[in-house]
């Protein structure tokens, strides 16, 4: 019996999704894989009418590094280093998500001191990620100096985390049952000193940038992402908090010792880029609060569960563990089959969901606004492409 021939789609992505052939009145432009402000190798196909964007379509896959496949051929211990490279700006949160998933599946307990250490280092990493976002966002908007001021503060965090983990950007620090090494002597004092210094620097950020009316003109009323759009696309993190909903994985699905700390979830009523901007700056302040509470309350004890198994064999079954990253809800789904390597590792990247709402937001806006919206979504393309 002859079956119908498959209707394969012809042409490339460009010709399938845009008009067939050039139009008279619009310009098709590639905000191409190489561009100063797409934060990585992201290609956005734009159809422009003068300066107005009629249609926009992000094209992904230029940095696909097959992390999920690597999860299937590496053992759980060998896979730990991959997590730092998925989103190198908040590497410790990805570390935590993977380690947490394995611990949940095998029922490994984590000592309290290790939990506190994880909290402190993860919050420091969150602050450094937000500082870099702030600097890079302003670089996209044309201000060349705030990124260097942000990097000045970030150096302190990087020095602290280097003291603990030995690396400055792609940390491999969490392990199954705790953390790899204990805190050196002056780390806690250094963290408190940093918190004090950061609090003194935040008014300068406000003076130089947040109150600047040129910046306000670039970010206010730009890129309205209402709550129902966030829900439809599964956007999390500062995007959904900027739309008004106080959804934070640390409160919604509490993990580790976050329920012991007193911190707020900053939200914003205005669902535009300025709202997201304010949410992230407020989150820096809240992270400082968490760090101070954790540093004063950290107990003595083990940094690694001595009974944690040295060889991890995942049983048959599946699990999912989510943490709150700087960009949103990071999730790791593990499926084991009893062998030394997992059967499937699925990494839920928050930026992927955040970016997918771009084509809907970008209808009818100006080209510089598109740059501003992309910056306010806080994209890290290697995390999208994994």
């Amino acid at each position: 019996m002859m079956t119908e021939p498959l209707q394969l789609e012809t042409g490339d992505f460009y010709s399938r999704h845009f008009e067939k052939g050039p139009r008279e009145d619009t310009l098709i432009l590639n905000m191409g894989p190489q561009h100063p402000s797409t934060h990585g190798v992201l290609r956005i196909l734009l159809e422009l009418d003068g300066e107005y964007i009629l249609r926009a379509e992000p094209v992904l896959g230029y940095v696909h590094r097959m992390h999920e496949k690597m999860g299937e051929v590496k053992t759980c211990h060998q896979y730990l280093m991959n997590m730092g490279r998925v989103d190198y700006l908040h590497a410790l949160a990805w570390n935590w998500a993977h380690v947490g998933a394995v611990e949940k599946m095998l029922g490994i307990e984590v000592p309290e001191r290790a939990e506190y250490i994880r909290v402190i280092t993860c919050e420091l990493n969150r602050i450094s990620s937000h500082l870099l976002w702030w600097g890079a966002y302003l670089l996209d908007l044309g201000a060349f100096t705030p990124i260097l001021y942000a990097f000045d503060d970030r150096e302190f965090i990087l020095d602290l985390l280097q003291m603990v983990t030995g690396s400055r950007l792609t940390y491999t620090y969490n392990t199954f049952g705790g953390v790899v090494a204990d805190l050196p002597g002056d780390f806690l004092d250094g963290s408190l000193a940093f918190a004090k210094r950061m609090r003194e620097r935040l008014p300068m950020y406000k003076d130089l940038v947040t109150d600047n009316f040129i910046l306000r003109g670039r970010v206010e009323d730009i890129g309205h992402i209402p709550l129902e759009m966030c829900v439809r696309y599964g956007a999390t993190g500062p995007v959904v908090r900027g739309a008004g909903k106080p959804y934070d994985t640390r409160r919604a699905e509490p993990y580790s010792v976050y329920d012991r700390f007193d911190f707020e979830i900053p939200t914003s009523d205005r669902d535009d880029a300025f709202g997201r901007y304010q949410v992230r700056l407020a989150e820096i302040e809240q992270s400082l609060r968490i760090i101070e509470q954790a540093v004063t309350g950290i107990p003595a004890g083990d940094f690694l569960n001595p009974k944690a198994p040295k060889k991890i064999k995942l049983p048959v079954g599946e699990t999912y563990y989510a943490v709150e990253g700087a960009r949103g809800k990071i999730g790791v789904y593990l499926q084991g089959d009893g062998g030394p390597t997992p059967y499937r590792v699925r990494l839920r990247s928050p930026t992927y969901s955040n970016l997918s709402l771009f084509s809907e937001v970008a209808g009818g806006i100006l080209l510089p606004d598109a740059v501003s919206i992309l910056g306010s979504l806080d994209l890290v393309i290697p995390e999208i492409d994994r």
């Binding site: 044309g142 201000a143 060349f144 100096t145 040129i214 100006l366 510089p368 606004d369 740059v371």
Partner: protein
């Protein structure tokens, strides 16, 4: 055969101005990078020569040594005329400026009009650069720059006109002489609105941040001069600094008292004030983000032009009294 002394004077002045502009372009490259460095709390150029003094020389050698690439489908003639056109009017614009009580090329009654007329050639250069590049990004940059420059010429003209009206002459020498020796006697306090408008328009005319959308580095990857390499880019670069010099010197003459100054009036006071304005423009670049394009045009058409016209009316009224 007698050569007209006036002509000799103009030729000598032209050569001197070209040398002055070239030397300044080189120095300003270095100064801008050093100022940028210090604002960002880093050293800036440091290795080449003592504290990086020879960096501009290294840059110039590099630019001259690069291959001149013409885009394949672009219009060759238009593509290569554009940088020359960007650089050409500068010398002419600086001719009527009175650097000192006796240091000027020629005393022309319409000096101001000459400068304003030739400053408009810059727009043409950017337009040709964007069109000849056969690059959609350059085209966007050129289109933006045309709209921006045209929009900001008008408040510039009107504010300069108000100063000319208050002084009663278009001759730059006369305008300098009517301002006294002390800072409070200069035009910036007599006509502060015009000064403010002039500075904003000056920054916009030279396509400097925060109005550098045509060259928007982070959106358009260098805008209208994306496709230029080597000396083509070098000429645009030098033209930008030369234009900055022109607007700064016009600001000095019109608003800051020219070569007047307490103590010994002379060309040294002129240079001090000119470099102060240039330094201010450089600091603006490193502090503020870019203004979005429609906000930029709004600023000009909805704010600066009415304000400049109102100022002109007030000045006219006061002059008539």
């Amino acid at each position: 055969m007698n050569i007209d002394p006036q002509l000799t004077r103009i030729l000598v002045a032209l050569v001197a101005i070209l040398l002055f502009v070239a030397a300044n372009a080189i120095v300003l490259v270095y100064v801008e990078r050093k100022v940028a460095g210090h604002v960002q709390r880093r050293p800036g150029p440091y290795e080449v020569g003592f504290h990086g003094i020879l960096q501009p020389v290294a840059d110039a050698v590099k630019l001259m040594g690069k291959q001149l690439v013409t885009p394949g489908d672009g219009d060759r003639v238009i593509f290569w005329i554009a940088p020359l056109l960007a650089f050409a009017p500068v010398a002419l614009c600086l001719l009527p400026i009175t650097f000192g009580p006796r240091t000027y090329a020629f005393d022309i009654d319409l000096g101001l009009v000459l400068i304003l007329a030739f400053a408009g050639l810059n727009v043409l250069a950017l337009c040709l650069a964007g069109w000849g590049s056969n690059n959609k990004w350059s085209l966007l940059g050129a289109a933006r720059s045309v709209a921006q420059n045209v929009a900001y010429e008008i408040p510039l003209l009107v504010s300069v006109l108000s100063v000319a009206l208050a002084t009663g002459s278009l001759n730059l020498n006369t305008i300098t002489l009517t301002q006294g020796t002390w800072p409070w006697q200069w035009n910036w306090l007599i006509n502060p609105v015009a000064f403010g408008i002039y500075i904003i328009c000056a920054v916009a005319e030279t396509n400097r941040a925060p109005f550098d959308l045509p060259e928007g580095e982070s959106e358009l990857t260098a805008g209208f001069h994306t496709e230029y390499s080597g000396m083509g880019f070098g000429l645009f670069f030098m033209a930008e600094y030369a234009n900055m010099l022109v607007v700064a010197s016009v600001a000095t003459v019109l608003f800051l008292g020219g070569w007047n100054g307490p103590g010994a009036p002379g060309w040294w006071w002129f240079l001090v004030k000119m470099y102060a304005v240039v330094f201010f423009i450089i600091m603006l670049r490193w502090t503020f983000p870019r203004v979005r394009f429609d906000q930029l045009l709004n600023l000009s058409w909805k704010w600066l032009i009415p304000l400049a016209l109102a100022n002109l009316l007030v000045v006219a009224f006061i002059v008539k009294l």
